[in-house]
Amino acid sequence: MDLLDLIDAAQSVADGLLFGSTYALLGIGFTLIFGVMHKINLSYAAASIGAAYGSLLLLSGFTAAPAVIVFMAAALCGGVIGALVYFIGFKFIPVANPLATLMSTVGLLLLIDEIIVHTTEGVPLAYPALYSDVVVRLGQFMLRGDLMFVFVLGCACMVLFLLLLYRTRLGIATRAVSQQPIASQLCGISILQVNVLTFVVTGMLGGIAGAMSGAAIGMLSPLLAQPLTVKGLIVTVIGGLGSIPGAIIAGLIVGALESLFQFLRGVTERDLYIMMLLFAFLVFRPGGIFAKAPGRD
C-alpha cells in the first residue's frame, strides 16, 4: 500500500466519522428508551426515516425550503411519530412483559415501512442535499460540505440533548425513572409523563438523524430503514445498553470503520466486518465501551 492509498483510507475514515454522527443520534435514541423503560424499540430507525419522509410531505408546497426548516420539520414529525409509537406499542402493554413490546415494535417497524412504500410506490425521493457544493480542502484531504453540515448538526443536537438530560428538571426526572422507578414515583415524578417525553425527544433526535442520512445520501428510500435499524442496534450494543456517551462514541466508530471497510473491501463486504466487530464486542466486552464497575445498591 503506497502513500496515496493511505491518504484515501484516511479520507474514507474522515467521511465515515462525519456520517457516523447519524448513527450516534440513532444510538442515543435506542439507548435512552432502553435506559428509561428497559425495553427495546425496534421501530425507532424506521420511524426516523418516516419522519424524514414526513418533512418532505410537510414542505411539499415549498420549492426550496432552507435547511433549518427541513430539519425542524423532520424533528417535528419525529416527535409526533415517537408519541404515536409509545401510545400504540407500549402504553397498553403490561410493564412486566418486554417480549410483548419487542413484538409490537417489530409490528410498528413493518407498518411504518409499508406506509412509506405504499405512499411513495417504493420509488426513492430526492432529499435536499445541503451544502453539497461546498468542499473544504485541507492539504491532501477534502471534507465534503454536506457531510460536515451533517456532523456539525449532529454534534449540536447531542450537546442540546445532553444539556436537557443533565442540566434540567426534566432531565433529572428522566434519569431518576431510569435508575430507580419506584423511588422516582415516591419523589412525585410521573412515570407516564417521563415515558411520553422520552419518546417525543428521542423521536425528534431520530427525525433529525433520518433527515441527516437523507441529506448525506441525497435521497430517501424505504430501503434505508433496515440497515439503519441494524446499525443503530449495533451502535447501542457496542456503546453499552443504556450508556449515552457509549452510544455517541460507538456511533462515530461504526461510521468510521464502515467507511474504511468499504474503501478496503468494497460495499458488499463492508457490513460483514461491522458484524464481526459486534461479535468481538459481545465476546470480549459484552458491557460495551464504557462497561460500568458494579456499585452499591
Binding site: 428538571r169 433529572i172 426526572a173 434519569r175 431518576a176 435508575q179 430507580q180 419506584i182 423511588a183 422516582s184 414515583q185 415516591l186 419523589c187 412525585g188 415524578i189 410521573s190 456499585g295 452499591r296 445498591d297
Partner: protein, 238 residues
C-alpha cells in the same frame, strides 16, 4: 392526622393486608412493629400509592388518598423513605435532593431547604457532588431521608431506616428521627429494632400476618409479656 381504615391489599389472590386500621397522631412518632412478612412494607407502599388497595380508606386530615397517583399523594404531603433506601445511584447527592423536590417550583425555597439538609446532614454536604451509589449505607439512608424531606411532607413515612446498618449508625439515624419530630414532623416508622423504637416512639402498633394485633403506648408495650418475649428478648420463653 393520618387515618387508615379496613385496608385490604392483595398480591394476586394473596391478601397481604387483611383489613388494617391505624391512626397516626399529628406531631407524634407512631411506630409499626412486626415480623418479616407481616405486611408492614405493603402498608407503607399502599399509603404512598405505589400499590392499589382492594378495599378500605386512607385519609390525610379527612381527605381520601386511595385512588390518587403516587405523585398526587406526594403533593398532598406524604413522603416515604422506602425500605433499602432506593437512592438514585448514578445521580449526585445534590441531584437526589433536587429529585426529592420535583413537585416544587419555588427555586429559592428549594435552595434554602437544600442548605437546611446540608446543615442537618453534614456528611451529605461534604459529598454533595459525589454519586449516591458510592456512599456508605448510613450515608445513603441519610440521603433517602433528606430526599423525602425535600418535598416538605406533612407526614413522613419511614420503612426500616435501620436495616443493614451498624449499631452506631442506627443510633445516629434514631437521633435524627427524634430531632425531626422535635421540629414538628409527624412520623410513621416501621421498625424491627424494638429497643431503639421504644426510645423515640409515642404510639405503637404491632402487625402480624396482615392484621394489627396490638396497639398501645411504649409503657403498655414494655409491659406486655408476649411482646417482650418476641420483640425485646428480655425474658426467655419457657
Amino acid at each position: 392526622m393520618l387515618d387508615v381504615s379496613e385496608l385490604v391489599t392483595t398480591y394476586g389472590k394473596i391478601e397481604a393486608l387483611k383489613g388494617v386500621s391505624l391512626h397516626v397522631a399529628g406531631g407524634k412518632i407512631t411506630c409499626l412493629l412486626g415480623p418479616n412478612g407481616a405486611g408492614k412494607t405493603t402498608l407503607m407502599m399502599t399509603i404512598a400509592g405505589i400499590l392499589r388497595p382492594r378495599r378500605g380508606s386512607i385519609k390525610l386530615e379527612g381527605a381520601e388518598l386511595v385512588g390518587l397517583s403516587p405523585a398526587k399523594i406526594v403533593s398532598r404531603g406524604i413522603a416515604l423513605v422506602p425500605e433499602n433506601r432506593l437512592v438514585f445511584p448514578e445521580m449526585s447527592v445534590r441531584e437526589n435532593l433536587l429529585a426529592g423536590a420535583y413537585q416544587r417550583r419555588d427555586k429559592s425555597e428549594i435552595a434554602a431547604d437544600m442548605e437546611r439538609m446540608y446543615a442537618r446532614f453534614p456528611q451529605l454536604k461534604e459529598r454533595r457532588e459525589q454519586l449516591a451509589g458510592t456512599l456508605s449505607g448510613g450515608e445513603q439512608q441519610m440521603l433517602a431521608v433528606a430526599r423525602a424531606l425535600m418535598s416538605r411532607p406533612r407526614v413522613l413515612l419511614m420503612d426500616e431506616p435501620s436495616l443493614g446498618l451498624a449499631p452506631l449508625i442506627v443510633a445516629e439515624i434514631f437521633d435524627i428521627v427524634a430531632a425531626l419530630n422535635r421540629d414538628g414532623t409527624t412520623m410513621l416508622l416501621v421498625e424491627q429494632n424494638a429497643h431503639m423504637a421504644l426510645k423515640v416512639a409515642h404510639q405503637f402498633f404491632l402487625m402480624e400476618q396482615g392484621r394489627v394485633t396490638f396497639q398501645g403506648t411504649p409503657g403498655q408495650l414494655a409491659e406486655d409479656e408476649v411482646i417482650q418475649r418476641a420483640y425485646l428478648g428480655t425474658r426467655r420463653a419457657g
